[in-house]
Amino acid sequence: MGRIKVMIYKILLAIWMNLIIAAVFLYVEPAAGFPGEVSRILFFHVPMAWVATLAFLLSMIASSVYLITRKVSADFLAQSSAELGFLFCFLATVTGSIFAKATWGSFWNWDPRETSIVMLLMIYGAYFVLRSAVPDHEKRRVFAGVYSILAFCTVPFLVFIVPRITSSLHPEDTLNPAGPGMDMKTLIFFLGSLCAYTALFVWMLRLKVRMLRIMDNEQGVKFKI
């Protein structure tokens, strides 16, 4: 892909994100059944949770590729993806907490959804501890790869199953100004926000991978792509 083309995509993403933010606050109506304007946070909270899940999935795939092919670039991708997944998971927790305060009166309620996301953060936190605890490059990459695959096994369980098999305060149909489902205006901006956050993740991921590559090169470890 040409550099100019990539630059155009980045500028378009910046404009797109600004439009989404402006529209979410000034154009879309808040969902019914929630106090004040609090439901608008879902245009940010859900895409962050989605990007976190996507990043953990990508980390698991890249780790598998590394374990099969032993290509260092796959490990860079796995590490970068896990780091960004952790960041977006943390941001989803913070935005969810703000929503909880406005809706249920407390930042933290030990709701199954809140508990499971904390467990997820701890599991991926341990991934970084593992990476920093092994000094040998090759061993570190293998251990982290195996751990990333095992860590992702918990993601469907903690994100999708646990909150649904127990009673939870977490709403399922929040972005809903007029009954079940989502009205067209809300849906368009919701999907727009999802796309913008996904593109932002891709951009950040590329930067992080390039950064790791340079850092690795500076340490004198050479590789080919």
Partner: protein, 52 residues
């Protein structure tokens, strides 16, 4: 604008503009580092390929 919604939107926009600016600056710095590292490797006769 009710309930300071415009203010919240403005704060969000400023934060997003800051993040975008930071990412653009980071992108440029990485490009420079890649070029510098690439030039050095070339001078040392090493075969290292960076993603463009």
């Amino acid at each position: 604008m009710e309930n300071g919604l415009g203010f919240v939107a403005a704060v969000n926009l400023i934060i997003w503009a800051g993040i975008t600016l930071y990412l653009f600056v980071l992108d440029r710095r990485l490009k420079k580092l890649e070029q510098r590292s690439g030039d050095r490797d070339q001078a040392a006769g090493m075969d290292v390929h960076y993603e463009k």
